[in-house]
Assembly symmetry: C2
Homo-oligomer: 321 residues x 2
C-alpha cells in the first residue's frame, strides 16, 4: 500500500488531477474540462468519474489520504469557491461538501492556486525547512501565498494573500479588478506585454518588436526570445518589470520579514533576465534593517505538475497538524 | 498577593515603568531618563533602582510575573535592541540578558513599541477576541504591529511589521530612512505638518494657517484645532492624510485580510476628522472580495499609560502560551 494524496487544480478551462506520493512523484494523471457544465453537480459527476478512472488505471495499491484542491477564489475555511470571475459557477460553490458526499477520505481541503503552490514548495520544493516565505506566481496575473511561522496566512475570511492587487503606481494601469496600478498589471505575462506596448509608443529605439507586433501576437515568450537575442527594447521590458517587482518585494518585506521570496510561473523561468535585476531593485529599495537578508529563489516544482503537486500538498499539511 | 507584570516603555529621552495587573490597572508608575548614560550598564543600574523603588512604594503585596519591554528596534527573538537610530547605545544591546542578571522573574521579553501596543490592545483594549488585526500607531512616525491567528508577526528576523516604510508614492517625500514616499512621511503627526506646508505652497485658499505659520511652530495639534474650527485648508490636510492612509489600509488588507485596523496615537484622536474619511477611502480602494469586511477602530488603551500597558502585555501573552 502506497500512501498518496489526490491533487486537483481547477483552472478556468481545464481541471488537472494527479495522484501524488509523499515525495512528490505523480503516479498517474487525469484531466476534465472545467467549463463544460454550468451545473456544478454535473461537473462533480465528471470529476468523480475521472478520479475513479485514474485510481483504477494504476497497478500500485493506493492508500488514499485525501483530496487537496486549488481553485480561483478557493476559501480554505469554508471549502467554497466564492464569486470566481473566470469560472461558470456563480456565487458560492460548496466544493468540499459536494466532494465529501462522493468520497470518504479523511482530508478534503481547498484553497486558491497560489496558496496551494506555496504549500507545495514547502513539501516538495525549495521551501523545505523555511518557516517564513512568500510565493509569487507570475502567470497571466500575479498570485501569492504568504507563509508565516510555517503556516499559510488565510486571514480572517480565508482570502488573504492577494498581493497582485497591491497598488504600486497611483493612477497607474487599469486592472481587471477595476482599480488602477495593481502590481499584476506590471508584473505578469500580460503586464510584460503591456510594458512592451508602452515602450513601443514611448521610445524611438529600433527594435525587432516593432516588426513582430505587425505580423503576430505579441507574447511574453516572444519578448523573452528577443531579449535573449539582445534586442534592447525587449531587455528594457524585463528591466522595467524587475524594477516594479523588486520595489514591491522590498515593501512586502516590511510586512512579514520573510527569509525568501519564491517566484513561480512563465516569467520566473526567464531566470537571470528577471530574478537578478529584481534582487538588485529589491535591495536598492529595502529598508536598512532588512537589507541582504532576503533571498529570491525560482520555484523547484516541476512546471507541468506544479499546480497538481501544490493542491496535493494540502493533504500532507493537514495530516501533519 | 496580586499577580502583576512590569511594563517598561523605552523612548528616546524617557523610559516609563508601570506595574500592571491582569485587567490593565496600573498600580504604580516610575520614570527615568533614557539618554543620561552612553554605557548601557549604567542605564540598567538606574532602571533596576527605579523598579525596586516603585515595587517598595506600593502597599499591595505583589506576585511579579515578569517584565515586558517596548523599545525602538526591539527584537523579540534575541531580546536585543539593534541599531536603534534614536537611542544612545549603538549596535546591538542585549537588553533582556542584562535584565535577567538583575531580576529573577519567569518572563523577561522585549519587542518594539508598536508590537507591544498591538498586544496591549488584545489583552486590555479593543482587540479582545480578535485573531487577525493590524495596529497602526500614528505618532511622530507610523508604527505597526500585525497580528495573525492571535499571534504577533515577528518575521524570520524579529523585525516584521514596519508598515510605516511601505512606499505609497513613487518618488514621493523624503523619509528619515533614506528612501522616498514612505507611508509615514504622509500619515503621522510630522506628515500632517508637511502636508500643510505643501498645501500652503500649492493653494491660494485663505487659511488661518498662513498667519499661524509666521508666528508659531506649526504642529499637528494646531492643524487639528483649526480644522475643527472650520478652516478649509486645515480640513484638506486631514482629507489628504485620510486618502493616503485609507488607500494603504486597502493594500495591507490584501496581505493578511485582517478583521480590523486599530489606530492609535495623537492623530487617531482626531476621530471623525480622520477615521471616517480613512474608512471611506479604504473602501473605495478595496479589492472587491474584501469590501465591507474590515473595521477601523480607535485604540482603547488609555493614552498616558498605553505604552507601558502594551509592554506589560508581553508578559501575559508569554504566560498564556
Amino acid at each position: 500500500m502506497k500512501k498518496v494524496a489526490i491533487g486537483i487544480d481547477i483552472g478556468g478551462t481545464n481541471s488537472a488531477i494527479g495522484i501524488v506520493d509523499e515525495v512528490g512523484t505523480v503516479l498517474t494523471r487525469g484531466n476534465i474540462p472545467t467549463d463544460r457544465h454550468s451545473d456544478i453537480n454535473l461537473y462533480i459527476d465528471d470529476l468523480a468519474a475521472e478520479i475513479e478512472r485514474i485510481i483504477a488505471s494504476t497497478d500500485v495499491e493506493l492508500d488514499i489520504q485525501g483530496i487537496g484542491l486549488g481553485a480561483p477564489n478557493g476559501n480554505y475555511y469554508n471549502g467554497t469557491i466564492e464569486f470566481a470571475p473566470n469560472l461558470r459557477w456563480k456565487g458560492v460553490v460548496e466544493l468540499t461538501k459536494l466532494l465529501s458526499e462522493r468520497f470518504n477520505y479523511p482530508v478534503i481541503k481547498l484553497t486558491n492556486d497560489a496558496n496551494a503552490a506555496a504549500l507545495g514548495e514547502s513539501i516538495y520544493g525549495c521551501a523545505k525547512g523555511l518557516k517564513n516565505y512568500i510565493m509569487i506566481t507570475l502567470g497571466t496575473g500575479l498570485g501569492s501565498g504568504v507563509v508565516i511561522n510555517g503556516d499559510l496566512v488565510y486571514g480572517h475570511d480565508g482570502f488573504a494573500g492577494e498581493l497582485g492587487h497591491v497598488c504600486v503606481e497611483n493612477g497607474g494601469r487599469e486592472c481587471g479588478c477595476g482599480r488602477l496600478g495593481c502590481l499584476e498589471t506590471y508584473c505578469s505575462a500580460t503586464g510584460l506585454v503591456r510594458t512592451a506596448y508602452e515602450l513601443l509608443g514611448k521610445s524611438n529605439k529600433p527594435s525587432v518588436l516593432r516588426e513582430v507586433v505587425n505580423t503576430e501576437k505579441l507574447t511574453s515568450k516572444l519578448i523573452y526570445k528577443y531579449a535573449i537575442e539582445g534586442d534592447a527594447l525587449a531587455n528594457e521590458c524585463f528591466r522595467f518589470t524587475a524594477e516594479k517587482l523588486g520595489k514591491a518585494l522590498a515593501d512586502f518585506t516590511t510586512f512579514s520579514s520573510p527569509e525568501a521570496f519564491i517566484l513561480f510561473g512563465g516569467l520566473a523561468n526567464a531566470g537571470d533576465l528577471l530574478i537578478k535585476p529584481t534582487k538588485e531593485y529589491m535591495e536598492a529599495n529595502m529598508l536598512e534593517i532588512f537589507k541582504n537578508k532576503v533571498a529570491i529563489k525560482p520555484s523547484e516544482l516541476p512546471g507541468a505538475d506544479a499546480a497538481v503537486l501544490g493542491a496535493s500538498s494540502l493533504v500532507w499539511k493537514e495530516l501533519s497538524k
